[in-house]
Symmetry: C2
Subunit: 263 residues, 2 copies
């Protein structure tokens, strides 16, 4: 069991409740990373489901739970022949923190009937760059859990040279060697810096809701994350992230609606 | 009040319940159109919210409700300064049919800070084509409610010439003149034929879940709907639809996960 597997463990305590322990190692400067929290929720949902894979997850982020004990309450809304539907609520100190709707099914890894190519070609990993290590006082503990190698222009904002477009692209792998699975994908799909940083904005950009679809089980090896946005207006922006596996297969798609930071 | 406004009316009966009457005029050959059903749900959610607009809606389609009386049960999960979160369930004969999570907020129509152009240019309306009128026995009553003018290649499948890619593009307006609003957008965003038809597949393609984001209030005039998909595999496909208003502004984005038809 990897540290990530342990940090996302969900232990059933009754028909509708799982105990979890939110790990301080997934903090983005105070709040815990949304992808990590979705992975925790999905551990409970998948355990409860007659199917194996979380093919669709929508999470609304109501509050920012603190590291420590919490519960995932699951309610199976319907189970059919090919899919089951679950409502899941992450609760801490009796207060609902994250509300999710999850569709589970079992993917069989059939060859695609149709597959678009990636919209962006990544430079080879050796031309990509890491973010500088965060200062210990920043509380950015998440960065130590994963290795992100960025397509350089998409972190030009770090040196005062944003590209002017909402975008972020990087290779992703866990620092502790672990083959990607649907739970790692939940983390990966929300692991990039907000795409609006590249459009010249800064500051805390809280996710309001995030939907992601698991499209195939990822092959072992690094993932490629391609993040983009279509519109920044009225204080809101969309962020789309695609995750491609090491064989060049699209394995996950996400879209989140988030607030532009004021910072 | 237009026929559509009437067909989507939701009348509060107690703190958490709205009565609705599902209109047989929105049938797609038996089942009612998912976008129409979302519009009905959103009438109740918006009425209940302290905010004006449904900026994010995720619906899981558990069953296919029949025309006739039904209820929308709303539960306000949280209301903050800029957004509120609601769980809404469409119930018929005591059975939950559609489960939704909705984020409401108030859009102010500010000029975009960043806006991508449309990925596809539509031919002028006079070069676009309608679908043939459905046979009365098909039960496709939805078609009479709206006028869709298609980019011709994207309905080539009708004459046995699919483009080979999942896609559908059309101009949209209500048959009974009505300026588009968020409820019309809920209908529009699910109004195109399944994009997989253009990839050579046929048959009933049921939506499993659909998430759409309202990005701006649409200007009066026709909408342009741009539908596409990235991957068809393992019996599942994604369908993305963008709605652009008559001034060329992106007003809505959707993604649904659906099953490939066996028909």
């Amino acid at each position: 069991m990897t540290k990530f597997d342990e940090a996302t463990q969900a232990i059933r305590v009754d028909e509708n409740t799982y105990d979890v322990c939110l790990d301080p190692g997934y903090s983005i400067g105070g709040p815990l990373n949304g992808g990590y929290l979705m992975a925790v929720v999905l551990r409970a949902v998948v355990d409860d489901s007659p199917f194996e894979h979380p093919v669709s997850t929508t999470s609304q982020f109501h509050k920012a739970p603190a590291p420590g004990p919490a519960q995932v309450r699951v309610e199976r809304l319907k189970a059919g022949r090919t899919a089951a539907f679950t409502r899941a609520t992450l609760v801490q100190d009796g207060v609902a923190q994250i509300e999710s709707l999850v569709t589970t099914a079992t993917l069989h890894g059939a060859e695609p009937v149709y597959a678009d190519p990636p919209g962006h070609r990544m430079p080879p990993a050796e031309q990509c760059v890491k973010l500088p290590d965060p200062k210990p006082e920043s509380g950015m503990t998440l960065n130590a859990q994963m290795e992100l190698l960025f397509d350089p222009p998409t972190i030009g904002w770090l040196g005062g040279e944003p590209t002017g477009r909402p975008e972020a692209r990087a290779y992703f792998r866990m620092t502790e060697p672990q083959d990607p699975d649907p739970f790692v994908l939940a983390l990966a799909i929300d692991a990039l810096p907000p795409v609006v940083f590249s459009a010249g904005m800064r500051g805390w950009a809280p996710t309001v809701d995030l939907t992601w679809h698991l499209r195939a089980l990822p092959a072992p090896g690094p993932l490629t994350l391609i993040g983009s946005g279509r519109l920044i207006a009225d204080g809101w922006f969309d962020e789309d992230v695609e995750a491609w596996d090491a064989t060049g297969r699209l394995v996950a798609q996400s879209r989140q609606l988030a607030r532009v930071g004021r910072g």
